[in-house]
Symmetry: C2
Subunit: 224 residues, 2 copies
DNA sequence: CCATATCGAGAGCACTGCTCTTGACACTCG
DNA sequence: CGAGTGTCAAGAGCAGTGCTCTCGATATGG
Protein backbone atom coordinates (compact mmCIF):
# COMPACT_ATOMS: atom_id res chain seq x y z
CA UNK A 1 0.00 0.00 0.00
CA UNK A 2 2.94 2.26 0.58
CA UNK A 3 3.74 1.94 -3.10
CA UNK A 4 0.39 3.21 -4.29
CA UNK A 5 0.42 5.79 -1.58
CA UNK A 6 3.06 8.10 -3.02
CA UNK A 7 0.41 9.69 -5.18
CA UNK A 8 -2.30 9.06 -2.63
CA UNK A 9 -0.23 10.67 0.09
CA UNK A 10 0.43 13.75 -1.96
CA UNK A 11 -3.25 13.96 -2.67
CA UNK A 12 -4.16 13.63 0.99
CA UNK A 13 -1.60 16.22 1.99
CA UNK A 14 -2.77 18.71 -0.59
CA UNK A 15 -6.38 18.08 0.41
CA UNK A 16 -5.47 18.96 3.97
CA UNK A 17 -3.56 22.03 2.87
CA UNK A 18 -6.54 23.26 0.90
CA UNK A 19 -8.81 22.75 3.90
CA UNK A 20 -6.37 24.51 6.20
CA UNK A 21 -6.07 27.47 3.87
CA UNK A 22 -9.83 27.59 3.41
CA UNK A 23 -10.24 27.57 7.19
CA UNK A 24 -7.98 30.60 7.34
CA UNK A 25 -10.07 32.36 4.73
CA UNK A 26 -13.18 31.58 6.76
CA UNK A 27 -12.07 34.27 9.17
CA UNK A 28 -12.20 37.03 6.61
CA UNK A 29 -14.88 35.92 4.18
CA UNK A 30 -17.05 33.59 6.16
CA UNK A 31 -19.10 31.03 4.31
CA UNK A 32 -18.66 32.83 1.01
CA UNK A 33 -14.94 32.37 0.88
CA UNK A 34 -13.31 32.57 -2.51
CA UNK A 35 -12.04 29.33 -3.94
CA UNK A 36 -9.81 31.30 -6.26
CA UNK A 37 -8.28 33.17 -3.36
CA UNK A 38 -7.57 29.89 -1.60
CA UNK A 39 -5.91 28.57 -4.73
CA UNK A 40 -3.90 31.76 -5.06
CA UNK A 41 -2.63 31.39 -1.50
CA UNK A 42 -1.49 27.90 -2.33
CA UNK A 43 0.19 29.04 -5.52
CA UNK A 44 -1.95 26.85 -7.71
CA UNK A 45 -4.53 27.45 -10.41
CA UNK A 46 -8.12 27.66 -9.26
CA UNK A 47 -9.07 24.90 -11.63
CA UNK A 48 -6.64 22.56 -9.92
CA UNK A 49 -8.56 22.83 -6.67
CA UNK A 50 -11.52 21.28 -8.42
CA UNK A 51 -9.55 18.04 -8.64
CA UNK A 52 -9.86 17.83 -4.89
CA UNK A 53 -13.27 19.34 -4.23
CA UNK A 54 -15.93 19.20 -6.91
CA UNK A 55 -17.42 22.52 -5.85
CA UNK A 56 -17.16 25.21 -3.24
CA UNK A 57 -20.07 23.61 -1.43
CA UNK A 58 -18.13 20.37 -1.18
CA UNK A 59 -15.19 22.19 0.35
CA UNK A 60 -17.53 23.85 2.83
CA UNK A 61 -19.09 20.51 3.65
CA UNK A 62 -15.64 19.11 4.43
CA UNK A 63 -14.96 22.04 6.72
CA UNK A 64 -18.35 21.58 8.38
CA UNK A 65 -17.75 17.91 9.07
CA UNK A 66 -14.30 18.66 10.47
CA UNK A 67 -15.76 21.36 12.68
CA UNK A 68 -18.49 19.10 14.04
CA UNK A 69 -15.90 16.45 14.75
CA UNK A 70 -13.54 18.83 16.48
CA UNK A 71 -16.35 20.23 18.58
CA UNK A 72 -17.56 16.75 19.41
CA UNK A 73 -14.09 15.69 20.52
CA UNK A 74 -13.69 18.81 22.62
CA UNK A 75 -17.07 18.26 24.25
CA UNK A 76 -16.32 14.62 25.02
CA UNK A 77 -12.94 15.52 26.44
CA UNK A 78 -14.59 18.13 28.62
CA UNK A 79 -16.70 15.55 30.44
CA UNK A 80 -13.67 14.57 32.49
CA UNK A 81 -14.03 13.53 36.09
CA UNK A 82 -15.82 14.78 39.14
CA UNK A 83 -19.39 15.10 40.25
CA UNK A 84 -22.16 15.08 37.69
CA UNK A 85 -22.51 18.82 38.06
CA UNK A 86 -18.82 19.28 37.42
CA UNK A 87 -18.94 17.04 34.40
CA UNK A 88 -21.92 18.96 33.03
CA UNK A 89 -20.21 22.29 33.50
CA UNK A 90 -17.03 20.79 32.10
CA UNK A 91 -18.74 19.93 28.83
CA UNK A 92 -20.42 23.33 28.67
CA UNK A 93 -17.15 25.17 29.14
CA UNK A 94 -15.38 22.86 26.72
CA UNK A 95 -17.94 23.69 24.05
CA UNK A 96 -17.68 27.39 24.74
CA UNK A 97 -13.90 27.32 24.83
CA UNK A 98 -13.80 25.54 21.50
CA UNK A 99 -16.21 28.05 20.03
CA UNK A 100 -14.14 30.97 21.30
CA UNK A 101 -11.04 29.42 19.80
CA UNK A 102 -12.78 28.65 16.51
CA UNK A 103 -15.48 31.29 16.14
CA UNK A 104 -15.73 31.11 12.37
CA UNK A 105 -16.15 27.38 12.37
CA UNK A 106 -18.82 27.74 15.03
CA UNK A 107 -20.59 30.27 12.81
CA UNK A 108 -20.27 27.85 9.93
CA UNK A 109 -22.07 25.04 11.71
CA UNK A 110 -24.49 26.92 13.94
CA UNK A 111 -25.02 30.17 12.08
CA UNK A 112 -27.60 30.80 9.43
CA UNK A 113 -27.69 28.00 6.90
CA UNK A 114 -26.44 28.98 3.46
CA UNK A 115 -29.53 29.10 1.22
CA UNK A 116 -29.42 26.42 -1.41
CA UNK A 117 -26.96 24.42 0.62
CA UNK A 118 -28.21 21.00 1.51
CA UNK A 119 -26.35 19.30 4.31
CA UNK A 120 -25.37 15.78 3.24
CA UNK A 121 -26.10 12.86 5.52
CA UNK A 122 -22.43 12.62 6.50
CA UNK A 123 -22.88 15.62 8.73
CA UNK A 124 -25.47 14.27 11.15
CA UNK A 125 -23.17 11.72 12.77
CA UNK A 126 -20.51 14.20 13.86
CA UNK A 127 -23.18 16.81 14.54
CA UNK A 128 -24.80 14.99 17.42
CA UNK A 129 -21.63 14.05 19.28
CA UNK A 130 -21.69 17.17 21.42
CA UNK A 131 -25.32 16.93 22.47
CA UNK A 132 -24.85 13.24 23.19
CA UNK A 133 -21.94 14.07 25.47
CA UNK A 134 -24.28 16.27 27.46
CA UNK A 135 -27.07 13.72 27.45
CA UNK A 136 -24.80 10.97 28.71
CA UNK A 137 -24.04 12.95 31.85
CA UNK A 138 -27.71 13.52 32.60
CA UNK A 139 -28.36 9.87 31.99
CA UNK A 140 -25.53 8.75 34.27
CA UNK A 141 -26.72 11.11 36.96
CA UNK A 142 -30.24 9.80 36.59
CA UNK A 143 -29.06 6.22 36.84
CA UNK A 144 -27.29 7.16 40.05
CA UNK A 145 -30.46 8.75 41.35
CA UNK A 146 -28.88 12.17 41.38
CA UNK A 147 -31.51 13.73 39.16
CA UNK A 148 -35.10 14.51 39.99
CA UNK A 149 -36.84 12.83 37.07
CA UNK A 150 -39.99 14.90 37.49
CA UNK A 151 -43.30 14.77 35.75
CA UNK A 152 -43.66 12.84 32.50
CA UNK A 153 -44.48 14.86 29.41
CA UNK A 154 -47.99 14.11 28.16
CA UNK A 155 -49.43 14.10 24.66
CA UNK A 156 -47.84 13.54 21.31
CA UNK A 157 -44.67 15.34 22.33
CA UNK A 158 -44.29 12.82 25.13
CA UNK A 159 -44.69 9.91 22.74
CA UNK A 160 -42.27 11.43 20.32
CA UNK A 161 -39.71 12.02 23.04
CA UNK A 162 -40.09 8.42 24.09
CA UNK A 163 -39.07 7.48 20.56
CA UNK A 164 -36.08 9.79 20.67
CA UNK A 165 -35.06 8.36 24.02
CA UNK A 166 -35.38 4.85 22.61
CA UNK A 167 -32.91 5.64 19.82
CA UNK A 168 -30.47 7.90 21.66
CA UNK A 169 -30.46 6.60 25.19
CA UNK A 170 -32.54 3.44 25.67
CA UNK A 171 -34.16 3.32 29.05
CA UNK A 172 -33.75 7.01 29.81
CA UNK A 173 -36.91 8.85 30.87
CA UNK A 174 -38.25 10.93 27.98
CA UNK A 175 -38.62 14.04 30.10
CA UNK A 176 -34.91 13.91 30.90
CA UNK A 177 -34.13 13.61 27.21
CA UNK A 178 -36.27 16.67 26.62
CA UNK A 179 -34.57 18.65 29.34
CA UNK A 180 -31.14 17.60 28.14
CA UNK A 181 -31.98 18.78 24.65
CA UNK A 182 -33.29 22.04 26.08
CA UNK A 183 -30.05 22.41 27.98
CA UNK A 184 -28.06 21.91 24.80
CA UNK A 185 -30.21 24.44 23.00
CA UNK A 186 -29.68 26.97 25.75
CA UNK A 187 -25.95 26.27 25.68
CA UNK A 188 -25.98 26.74 21.94
CA UNK A 189 -27.88 29.99 22.22
CA UNK A 190 -25.57 31.30 24.92
CA UNK A 191 -22.44 30.61 22.88
CA UNK A 192 -23.98 32.05 19.72
CA UNK A 193 -25.18 35.14 21.56
CA UNK A 194 -21.68 35.72 22.87
CA UNK A 195 -19.94 35.07 19.56
CA UNK A 196 -22.39 36.92 17.37
CA UNK A 197 -22.09 40.10 19.37
CA UNK A 198 -25.42 40.18 21.17
CA UNK A 199 -23.66 40.68 24.49
CA UNK A 200 -21.52 43.57 23.28
CA UNK A 201 -21.79 46.68 25.43
CA UNK A 202 -23.89 44.75 27.91
CA UNK A 203 -21.99 41.88 29.47
CA UNK A 204 -18.24 41.89 29.84
CA UNK A 205 -17.92 39.04 32.32
CA UNK A 206 -18.70 36.53 29.64
CA UNK A 207 -17.43 33.40 31.30
CA UNK A 208 -19.22 34.10 34.57
CA UNK A 209 -22.47 34.92 32.85
CA UNK A 210 -22.19 31.78 30.78
CA UNK A 211 -21.60 29.64 33.84
CA UNK A 212 -24.50 31.34 35.58
CA UNK A 213 -26.74 30.28 32.73
CA UNK A 214 -25.44 26.74 32.59
CA UNK A 215 -25.82 26.33 36.32
CA UNK A 216 -29.38 27.49 35.85
CA UNK A 217 -29.97 24.85 33.20
CA UNK A 218 -28.40 22.35 35.57
CA UNK A 219 -30.81 23.12 38.36
CA UNK A 220 -33.82 23.22 36.06
CA UNK A 221 -32.93 19.82 34.61
CA UNK A 222 -33.17 18.51 38.15
CA UNK A 223 -29.63 17.78 39.33
CA UNK A 224 -29.56 17.52 43.07
CA UNK B 1 -44.79 69.87 1.14
CA UNK B 2 -46.84 68.06 -1.47
CA UNK B 3 -45.09 70.12 -4.08
CA UNK B 4 -41.65 68.99 -3.09
CA UNK B 5 -42.94 65.53 -2.47
CA UNK B 6 -43.66 64.50 -6.02
CA UNK B 7 -40.08 63.51 -6.42
CA UNK B 8 -39.68 62.65 -2.75
CA UNK B 9 -42.71 60.41 -2.86
CA UNK B 10 -41.48 58.57 -5.88
CA UNK B 11 -38.16 58.16 -4.16
CA UNK B 12 -39.77 56.81 -0.99
CA UNK B 13 -41.94 54.44 -2.97
CA UNK B 14 -39.08 53.11 -5.03
CA UNK B 15 -36.99 52.73 -1.91
CA UNK B 16 -39.72 50.57 -0.42
CA UNK B 17 -40.06 48.58 -3.62
CA UNK B 18 -36.35 47.87 -3.65
CA UNK B 19 -36.48 46.70 -0.06
CA UNK B 20 -39.52 44.53 -0.74
CA UNK B 21 -37.88 42.93 -3.73
CA UNK B 22 -34.66 42.43 -1.81
CA UNK B 23 -36.63 40.78 0.99
CA UNK B 24 -38.01 38.36 -1.57
CA UNK B 25 -34.54 37.57 -2.80
CA UNK B 26 -33.46 36.92 0.76
CA UNK B 27 -35.39 33.67 0.58
CA UNK B 28 -33.32 32.26 -2.23
CA UNK B 29 -29.92 33.86 -1.79
CA UNK B 30 -29.77 34.78 1.87
CA UNK B 31 -27.43 37.53 2.94
CA UNK B 32 -25.49 37.39 -0.31
CA UNK B 33 -28.39 38.44 -2.46
CA UNK B 34 -27.58 39.97 -5.80
CA UNK B 35 -28.19 43.67 -6.15
CA UNK B 36 -28.22 43.24 -9.91
CA UNK B 37 -30.90 40.57 -9.69
CA UNK B 38 -33.02 42.86 -7.53
CA UNK B 39 -32.62 45.63 -10.09
CA UNK B 40 -33.50 43.23 -12.88
CA UNK B 41 -36.71 42.24 -11.10
CA UNK B 42 -37.61 45.90 -10.87
CA UNK B 43 -36.82 46.50 -14.53
CA UNK B 44 -34.16 49.05 -13.78
CA UNK B 45 -30.44 49.25 -14.27
CA UNK B 46 -28.30 48.02 -11.43
CA UNK B 47 -26.53 51.35 -11.28
CA UNK B 48 -29.83 53.09 -10.58
CA UNK B 49 -30.24 51.17 -7.36
CA UNK B 50 -27.11 52.84 -6.07
CA UNK B 51 -29.02 56.12 -6.08
CA UNK B 52 -31.09 54.64 -3.26
CA UNK B 53 -28.60 52.51 -1.38
CA UNK B 54 -24.94 53.37 -1.50
CA UNK B 55 -23.92 49.74 -1.29
CA UNK B 56 -25.27 46.26 -0.83
CA UNK B 57 -24.33 46.45 2.82
CA UNK B 58 -26.49 49.53 3.21
CA UNK B 59 -29.43 47.71 1.68
CA UNK B 60 -28.86 44.82 4.04
CA UNK B 61 -28.66 47.20 6.96
CA UNK B 62 -32.05 48.64 6.01
CA UNK B 63 -33.50 45.14 5.89
CA UNK B 64 -31.94 44.34 9.25
CA UNK B 65 -33.39 47.41 10.92
CA UNK B 66 -36.81 46.68 9.46
CA UNK B 67 -36.59 43.10 10.68
CA UNK B 68 -35.62 44.12 14.21
CA UNK B 69 -38.49 46.58 14.25
CA UNK B 70 -41.02 44.08 12.96
CA UNK B 71 -39.86 41.50 15.48
CA UNK B 72 -39.97 44.06 18.27
CA UNK B 73 -43.51 45.05 17.37
CA UNK B 74 -44.61 41.44 17.22
CA UNK B 75 -43.03 40.73 20.60
CA UNK B 76 -44.62 43.76 22.23
CA UNK B 77 -48.00 42.87 20.76
CA UNK B 78 -47.62 39.35 22.11
CA UNK B 79 -47.47 40.54 25.70
CA UNK B 80 -51.23 41.03 25.68
CA UNK B 81 -53.27 40.36 28.78
CA UNK B 82 -53.52 37.67 31.39
CA UNK B 83 -51.32 36.38 34.15
CA UNK B 84 -47.62 37.06 34.12
CA UNK B 85 -47.00 33.51 32.96
CA UNK B 86 -49.44 33.94 30.11
CA UNK B 87 -47.85 37.21 29.09
CA UNK B 88 -44.39 35.62 29.15
CA UNK B 89 -45.51 32.72 27.02
CA UNK B 90 -47.40 35.15 24.80
CA UNK B 91 -44.23 37.04 23.99
CA UNK B 92 -42.30 33.81 23.45
CA UNK B 93 -44.86 32.49 21.00
CA UNK B 94 -45.13 35.84 19.29
CA UNK B 95 -41.39 35.85 18.68
CA UNK B 96 -41.44 32.29 17.43
CA UNK B 97 -44.46 32.90 15.22
CA UNK B 98 -42.82 35.92 13.68
CA UNK B 99 -39.66 33.94 13.06
CA UNK B 100 -41.59 31.10 11.43
CA UNK B 101 -43.36 33.61 9.19
CA UNK B 102 -40.12 35.44 8.35
CA UNK B 103 -37.39 32.82 8.60
CA UNK B 104 -34.94 34.55 6.29
CA UNK B 105 -35.18 37.81 8.14
CA UNK B 106 -34.64 35.95 11.39
CA UNK B 107 -31.54 34.38 9.88
CA UNK B 108 -30.42 37.81 8.78
CA UNK B 109 -30.50 39.27 12.26
CA UNK B 110 -29.66 36.26 14.43
CA UNK B 111 -27.65 34.06 12.10
CA UNK B 112 -23.94 34.22 11.60
CA UNK B 113 -22.78 37.77 11.13
CA UNK B 114 -21.51 38.57 7.66
CA UNK B 115 -17.74 38.96 7.97
CA UNK B 116 -16.65 42.49 7.29
CA UNK B 117 -20.10 43.78 8.01
CA UNK B 118 -20.18 46.25 10.84
CA UNK B 119 -23.61 46.88 12.31
CA UNK B 120 -24.25 50.62 12.50
CA UNK B 121 -25.50 52.12 15.73
CA UNK B 122 -28.99 52.51 14.27
CA UNK B 123 -29.53 48.80 14.76
CA UNK B 124 -29.17 48.58 18.53
CA UNK B 125 -32.33 50.50 19.32
CA UNK B 126 -34.70 48.25 17.40
CA UNK B 127 -32.61 45.22 18.34
CA UNK B 128 -33.35 45.38 22.04
CA UNK B 129 -37.10 45.90 21.80
CA UNK B 130 -37.87 42.19 21.93
CA UNK B 131 -35.70 41.40 24.94
CA UNK B 132 -37.06 44.47 26.73
CA UNK B 133 -40.58 43.19 26.16
CA UNK B 134 -39.61 40.03 27.98
CA UNK B 135 -37.81 41.87 30.73
CA UNK B 136 -40.78 44.14 31.39
CA UNK B 137 -42.95 41.15 32.21
CA UNK B 138 -40.45 39.76 34.66
CA UNK B 139 -40.13 43.16 36.22
CA UNK B 140 -43.89 43.63 36.51
CA UNK B 141 -44.23 40.20 38.03
CA UNK B 142 -41.44 40.97 40.47
CA UNK B 143 -43.08 44.26 41.46
CA UNK B 144 -46.24 42.32 42.14
CA UNK B 145 -44.33 39.86 44.28
CA UNK B 146 -45.02 37.03 41.88
CA UNK B 147 -41.39 36.18 41.30
CA UNK B 148 -38.95 34.60 43.69
CA UNK B 149 -36.10 37.08 43.51
CA UNK B 150 -33.59 34.55 44.77
CA UNK B 151 -29.94 34.92 45.67
CA UNK B 152 -28.01 37.97 44.51
CA UNK B 153 -25.19 37.36 42.08
CA UNK B 154 -21.80 38.04 43.65
CA UNK B 155 -18.57 39.31 42.17
CA UNK B 156 -17.88 41.48 39.19
CA UNK B 157 -20.70 39.91 37.21
CA UNK B 158 -23.07 41.03 39.92
CA UNK B 159 -21.76 44.58 39.79
CA UNK B 160 -21.96 44.63 36.04
CA UNK B 161 -25.52 43.34 36.09
CA UNK B 162 -26.41 46.06 38.57
CA UNK B 163 -25.25 48.55 35.98
CA UNK B 164 -27.28 46.89 33.26
CA UNK B 165 -30.32 46.90 35.52
CA UNK B 166 -29.76 50.57 36.23
CA UNK B 167 -29.89 51.43 32.54
CA UNK B 168 -32.56 49.03 31.33
CA UNK B 169 -34.92 48.67 34.27
CA UNK B 170 -34.05 50.96 37.19
CA UNK B 171 -34.82 49.37 40.51
CA UNK B 172 -35.05 45.82 39.23
CA UNK B 173 -32.91 43.25 41.07
CA UNK B 174 -29.81 42.43 39.01
CA UNK B 175 -30.32 38.70 39.36
CA UNK B 176 -33.72 39.04 37.71
CA UNK B 177 -32.17 41.00 34.88
CA UNK B 178 -29.66 38.21 34.47
CA UNK B 179 -32.33 35.52 34.44
CA UNK B 180 -34.45 37.51 32.00
CA UNK B 181 -31.52 37.81 29.66
CA UNK B 182 -30.85 34.12 30.02
CA UNK B 183 -34.49 33.47 29.18
CA UNK B 184 -34.21 35.56 26.05
CA UNK B 185 -31.03 33.74 25.07
CA UNK B 186 -32.72 30.39 25.54
CA UNK B 187 -35.71 31.61 23.52
CA UNK B 188 -33.36 32.79 20.82
CA UNK B 189 -31.55 29.48 20.78
CA UNK B 190 -34.78 27.53 20.64
CA UNK B 191 -36.10 29.48 17.67
CA UNK B 192 -32.78 29.31 15.84
CA UNK B 193 -32.47 25.59 16.49
CA UNK B 194 -35.91 25.03 15.01
CA UNK B 195 -35.38 27.30 12.02
CA UNK B 196 -31.85 26.21 11.23
CA UNK B 197 -32.81 22.55 11.05
CA UNK B 198 -31.27 21.21 14.23
CA UNK B 199 -34.57 19.62 15.20
CA UNK B 200 -35.09 17.88 11.87
CA UNK B 201 -35.70 14.14 12.17
CA UNK B 202 -35.84 14.50 15.92
CA UNK B 203 -38.71 16.69 17.06
CA UNK B 204 -41.89 17.08 15.04
CA UNK B 205 -44.04 18.64 17.73
CA UNK B 206 -42.19 21.89 17.47
CA UNK B 207 -44.67 24.17 19.14
CA UNK B 208 -45.14 21.89 22.12
CA UNK B 209 -41.42 21.38 22.57
CA UNK B 210 -40.88 25.12 22.34
CA UNK B 211 -43.52 25.79 24.96
CA UNK B 212 -42.03 23.10 27.16
CA UNK B 213 -38.72 24.91 27.05
CA UNK B 214 -40.21 28.34 27.67
CA UNK B 215 -42.22 27.05 30.60
CA UNK B 216 -38.96 25.68 31.91
CA UNK B 217 -37.32 29.07 31.62
CA UNK B 218 -40.35 30.53 33.33
CA UNK B 219 -40.02 28.28 36.34
CA UNK B 220 -36.27 28.71 36.59
CA UNK B 221 -36.61 32.49 36.51
CA UNK B 222 -38.77 32.10 39.60
CA UNK B 223 -42.36 32.78 38.56
CA UNK B 224 -44.73 31.42 41.14
C1' DC C 1 -37.56 80.68 -18.21
C1' DC C 2 -33.26 78.93 -16.90
C1' DA C 3 -29.69 77.09 -13.94
C1' DT C 4 -29.46 73.28 -10.86
C1' DA C 5 -30.05 69.10 -8.71
C1' DT C 6 -31.63 64.55 -9.34
C1' DC C 7 -32.14 60.48 -11.73
C1' DG C 8 -31.84 56.26 -15.10
C1' DA C 9 -29.11 53.84 -18.40
C1' DG C 10 -25.05 51.96 -20.20
C1' DA C 11 -20.20 50.83 -20.43
C1' DG C 12 -16.47 49.22 -17.99
C1' DC C 13 -13.26 47.19 -14.18
C1' DA C 14 -11.90 43.62 -11.24
C1' DC C 15 -13.63 39.83 -9.20
C1' DT C 16 -16.29 35.29 -8.57
C1' DG C 17 -17.63 29.92 -9.42
C1' DC C 18 -17.18 26.73 -12.70
C1' DT C 19 -16.13 24.18 -17.28
C1' DC C 20 -13.30 22.64 -20.92
C1' DT C 21 -9.10 21.74 -23.27
C1' DT C 22 -4.22 21.01 -23.47
C1' DG C 23 0.03 19.27 -22.18
C1' DA C 24 3.05 17.10 -18.64
C1' DC C 25 3.95 13.85 -15.20
C1' DA C 26 3.76 9.46 -12.49
C1' DC C 27 2.28 4.99 -12.22
C1' DT C 28 1.25 0.17 -13.91
C1' DC C 29 1.57 -3.65 -16.78
C1' DG C 30 3.76 -6.48 -20.26
C1' DC D 1 13.03 -1.43 -19.41
C1' DG D 2 9.50 0.83 -22.33
C1' DA D 3 4.65 1.70 -23.81
C1' DG D 4 0.18 2.89 -22.36
C1' DT D 5 -3.00 4.78 -18.93
C1' DG D 6 -4.83 7.53 -15.47
C1' DT D 7 -4.02 11.69 -12.82
C1' DC D 8 -2.83 16.21 -12.45
C1' DA D 9 -1.90 21.53 -13.04
C1' DA D 10 -2.52 25.36 -15.95
C1' DG D 11 -4.83 28.45 -18.93
C1' DA D 12 -8.64 30.33 -21.50
C1' DG D 13 -13.26 31.30 -21.40
C1' DC D 14 -18.35 32.02 -19.86
C1' DA D 15 -21.78 34.07 -17.14
C1' DG D 16 -22.45 36.40 -13.20
C1' DT D 17 -21.20 39.80 -9.27
C1' DG D 18 -20.39 44.73 -6.69
C1' DC D 19 -19.32 49.04 -7.82
C1' DT D 20 -17.82 53.43 -10.50
C1' DC D 21 -18.13 56.73 -14.00
C1' DT D 22 -20.07 59.22 -17.64
C1' DC D 23 -23.79 60.90 -20.30
C1' DG D 24 -28.15 62.40 -21.50
C1' DA D 25 -33.13 63.25 -19.72
C1' DT D 26 -36.17 65.13 -16.42
C1' DA D 27 -38.01 67.52 -12.58
C1' DT D 28 -37.18 71.47 -9.06
C1' DG D 29 -36.69 76.00 -7.36
C1' DG D 30 -35.16 80.85 -8.00
Amino acid sequence: MTAASLRARLRAELTDEIKATARRHLATDGANLSLRAVARDLGMASSAVYRYFASRDELLTALIIDAYDALGSAAEAGAGEGTYEERWLGVCHAVRDWALANPYEWALIYGSPVPGYRAPGDTVGPAIRAVLALGRIVRDAADAGRVDVGEPIPGRLGEELAGVAERAAPGAPPQLVARSMAGWIHLNGAVSAELFGQLDNTIGERREFFEFQMRGALSWIGFR
